[in-house]
Amino acid sequence: MSAAALTTRPPDPALLAWLGQAGEPPTSADEPAWLAELRHDAAARAPDQGMPTQKSEGWRYTGLSALIEQGFKPQQKPISALQSEDLDKALIDGLETYRLVMVNGQFEPRLSQLDGLPTGVHIGGLAELIAQDPDRLAGQLGQIAGAGQHLFTSLNTANFADGLVMLLDEQVQLDRPVELLHLSIGLDEPSVAQPRHLVVLAAGAQAELIERYLSFDQAPYCNNAVVEIRLAERAQLHHYRLQQESPSAYHLSGLYLEQAAASRYRGINIGLGATWSRTDLVTRFLAEQADCGLQGLYLAGDRQLIDYHMDVQHQVPHCSSRENFKGILHGKGRAVFDGRVYVARDAQHTDAAMSNRNLILSPNAEVDTKPQLEIYADDVKCSHGTTVGQLEPEMLFYLRSRGISAPLAQRMLCLGFAGEIIDALGPEPLREQVTEAVGQRLEQSPL
């Protein structure tokens, strides 16, 4: 029996459902040939990749049975029940953005705000662009993710309906952040949305991208999102990702990043929502002096699993990467951190550091943290550190001796711990929103 056979199993009915009844993706006749081929290849690959089992290293602590049991099905029709009043609830006060809104995986131009974009910038819906200019994205879309880390990327490639396309010409700088807002509304039939996004910054371009996931109700649904990002020479992207799905949601997200010489990426991942979530952050350096920072904050409580997997590939010399994730676990919350940094033999002068620190507030909470440094070059600067600890009784006493109640003292210390990551979110309204959300979560949930 091959190794693959041990760690995956044949596609089951749930998987087939995701792929469409016949196991063939829903290609429309209008789609260009390159896209049909992309989808076809992905669909063909999916059964080989198979449904991961907990025997495979990357899924050891993240069981898929709950996800499979939900029997999510691809969505049939776009939903347009959402009104602009509903949208107001989802917006962040004081945050001025170019906004692209997706509702259950479909671009919603009515709710989006893309007026006044400077020249040299294209921001819009994926399906729309493919319809208008069928070959514009040929050779780009799907190329960064490739086969992806696992089956779910292939499922997205085979089935995606829509998403964001953000293309910046050389040297262009955006005057406002771009906001990619995913709104989900529960349907009678539990459904899966598979948004697909492509962000390409040409040489020297600079932008901020805010990617948010929100729900309007408590019905179960699944998001299986894939984001592909390519940064050309000296391009810079600040990317803020806020996963605030409802407590019954399932969330899969794959970020595939390719960085050319001297490009700079800063990703701040905030994971607060969903009952089950898995995020893969995959970085590949194409040339020297590229710099990638991946930061994150996750907060997992009762009936919650939050999983972050990283794969940072140093294949070329003189690049630097930082992974800095912090977690707060309470109730029966569970989290998984797997930070992998691979340094190839030729990647001399790599500078890589990885850190994962966790605060466990309850004896029933659990985190499985695994820093992996695989180094084959001999002249590198690499470090890693992980900690799992509790709130310091001394600090709690200090606060309480000032009249502050024990629960508030705990919250203040947790927010203090999380502050380092929250402060890295550029726009102030975003920092305030996340601080408030974390504070509220800690206030409402049993510690």
Partner: protein
């Protein structure tokens, strides 16, 4: 105000306080002196409700309330304040936010309205001046990276903000330079009043030149073994503790 009777406390199976008696009246300032390891900080911690100490006998009455049955925050809300010998660093917890939470928690417990941002800021500015504290410290995390002296001054600043009824100052003078000592003492003196009592733990007579105590006590081996007026501190400065403790042991 404060009445401590026959207080015994231990840590693990080590007896530290061994029958401590102390009466503090309103507006009085009591100095507590005593050799290293005699139990001064332990006494301060037991009064403020720190975990890890087991009270095995005695009672503590604070304005008619049994202090020992209360949580630390309830004691603070009743007007007890401890200036720590070793103030704790709170990484990531902003000093201003911390102070505002503390002031308002105490006001709320007393039935007063919470201070709004403007009045809080005004109060803070006013109290800062008295302690000659740089207001950049307010934007930093509580005590984090503060110098030893800054930490001590920050304790007294907190006291000025919280306006306690009984303040326990545990070696607030240690680690302060001469100018800082004067400033801190002036800050403490500014808070003296007929309704505010203080327990000043110190090793040095010098502090008592600035903060003039009404009474001086010697705490040794877990008990108050000698009490007197200001002159007792001078005598201790001159002769050390052995002339009392030896007599005690004999």
């Amino acid at each position: 105000m404060l009445s401590v009777k026959g207080l015994k406390a231990k840590v693990g199976d080590k007896d530290i306080l061994k029958g401590l008696d102390l009466e503090v009246g309103p507006g009085e300032v009591h100095a507590i002196m005593g050799p290293n390891g005699s139990g001064k900080s332990t006494f301060a911690h037991v009064l403020s409700g720190r975990e890890g100490y087991e009270v095995t006998a005695g009672s503590v009455d604070f304005n008619g309330q049994d202090l020992l049955g209360l949580e630390p925050e309830e004691r603070a809300q009743l007007g007890l304040f401890l200036a720590f010998q070793y103030p704790v660093e709170l990484p990531g917890v902003n000093n201003t936010y911390f102070l505002k939470s503390a002031v308002n928690a105490i006001r709320k417990a007393r039935g007063d309205d919470e201070l709004d941002a403007v009045s809080f800021l005004r109060l803070m500015k006013e109290r800062l001046k008295v302690l000659h504290l740089n207001d950049s410290l307010l934007k930093r995390p509580v005590n984090f990276g503060f110098s030893g002296g800054e930490k001590k001054r920050n304790e007294i600043f907190q006291m000025a903000m919280l306006e306690p009824k009984l303040a326990i100052l545990d070696e607030t003078d240690s680690g302060l330079d001469i100018d800082a000592l004067r400033i801190v003492a002036a800050g403490v003196n500014a808070l003296r009043g007929p309704e505010r009592s203080m327990l000043v733990v110190t090793h040095y007579q010098r502090l008592l030149d600035y903060i003039k105590p009404d009474y001086v006590h010697v705490l040794a081996q877990g008990r108050i073994i000698r009490s007197g007026g200001k002159e007792l501190a001078l005598e201790l400065e001159e002769k050390g503790y052995s002339w009392i403790t030896d007599g005690e042991a004999a």
